[in-house]
Symmetry: D2
Subunit: 146 residues, 4 copies
């Protein structure tokens, strides 16, 4: 099997896992990209995902970061016998997410045998602006599954 075919299987498995998440259904989020070492997710603003001032809620930002970093790590594993779990992350909020859309881009910094490190940038996007509103650094556990 070619490498491209292998990655198609990984891509499918990630999309299947995300679509099986009840919370993904509740909050929403669109998959913008899945590529080796990279995932991008987006979320449109609606009142249900905001905090008290009408900006995107920090919890909605964290949800994107959690899913995007774990999926980015999952693009680099052997799907036959490995899975990914979020071990921990740190999330810095830089400015209010005032835009109409959030986009979270996660990139693998180091893919390890038992642990991968992934960084994420979250952009607040309006018609006139694309503003960096949060950055995160995550450790993803790579676990063996039988």
């Amino acid at each position: 099997m070619t490498e491209m075919n292998d990655f198609a299987a990984i891509d499918r498995a990630i999309r299947t896992a995300l679509s099986a998440q009840g919370f993904m259904g509740l909050v929403g989020a669109e998959i913008l990209a899945i590529a080796p070492g990279h995932t991008a997710l987006a979320l449109a603003r609606r009142p249900e995902v905001t905090q008290q001032h009408g900006f995107f809620h920090g919890g909605a930002i964290a949800f994107l970061v959690d899913n995007a970093t774990t999926c980015a790590a999952a693009t680099m594993i052997d799907r036959a016998n490995q899975g990914c779990l979020t071990a921990e992350y740190k999330l810095n909020f830089l400015s209010p997410a005032t835009g109409e859309q959030l986009a979270c881009e996660a990139n693998v910094v180091k893919a390890g045998r038992t642990m991968s490190v992934v960084e994420a940038k979250v952009w607040s996007i309006s018609e006139t602006e694309r503003k960096l509103c949060a950055v995160a650094l995550a450790t993803i556990a790579v676990v063996n599954v039988i």
Copy 2:
């Protein structure tokens, strides 16, 4: 005005802010306690807040941590002219949140003039068990509002 009356005003302001969050309405969560330096929130399991294996989603845990740590810091400020914003947090997942309820307890470690540090513990609660499933350490910005 007595100190107790002051805290009643803080308590009310925190509850008002939380109930004005669209995301709080979407995800849910019950306020268990608001006391000086402390906040506890709880979330009941329903399919809409789970990940692909039926456990609480990490994003739901992060949502509780974000709100509980910021509210805990907000219990220690001068509401007349200060507000609180989540600056950053680090969140470690310890075990799958398999219970029927999540409870997040946040306690202020250091209340500062411009920055407070708050720790949080998240418990997964079932009929037979109360298991620590996540811990977090947060920095909350204390900002002057006019």
Copy 3:
């Protein structure tokens, strides 16, 4: 062999590892306690470990946190075929470390098969005061060694 004897071997192995660190020799630090799930280290103030205002340098605090959290995790492993490596930590500075001594206490929050989570508190101690000056949350990798 009894459990106590096993722990004596772990205690010895940790002390041997620390005494083999060139940086431990350079910076200094005294072992206050090694117990299952717990380690405490201390460092006396001397000009060589301070920053520009004469307080303990953040790097000296981080050095204690790094060693104490990793050693605390190491108290919970099977020394016969496992070792510990610092995967990551987050360190919050709460107040200037103005005392004559630093003490770092590390406690295991969750001992895992491949990863342990450890929290640390750093105290600045003077004749009149024992002040919490930093808190940390660490992930320690537990690795199999042959």
Copy 4:
């Protein structure tokens, strides 16, 4: 006064602060670069800065990260009435620092009025390789000084 002259004053103030640190004298470290929003520090390997396997000690890496991130934030402030303090950082170790030299590059992600966010990369450098061995994300408090 021109902007260049202003930055020359900032550059001088940072170098003065670093050279006044006892710990900087003890551990060593060379200033590679100070520019607006950027600082780079380097440390040569000698037995005194290693751990038990002869690699750079995590505490030496943290020392570079602490100083480089705080100095990077300090390049963006108004030296006349502001100063910088490390509030917190998270540090991920990616691979053993086996090289002959460490280089830490810190870049400001967001320069704020009361808080700046800075990321750092630490490279382990040998004759044949330049390997990313650690990444960090720091929050630096910007404080008003009279």
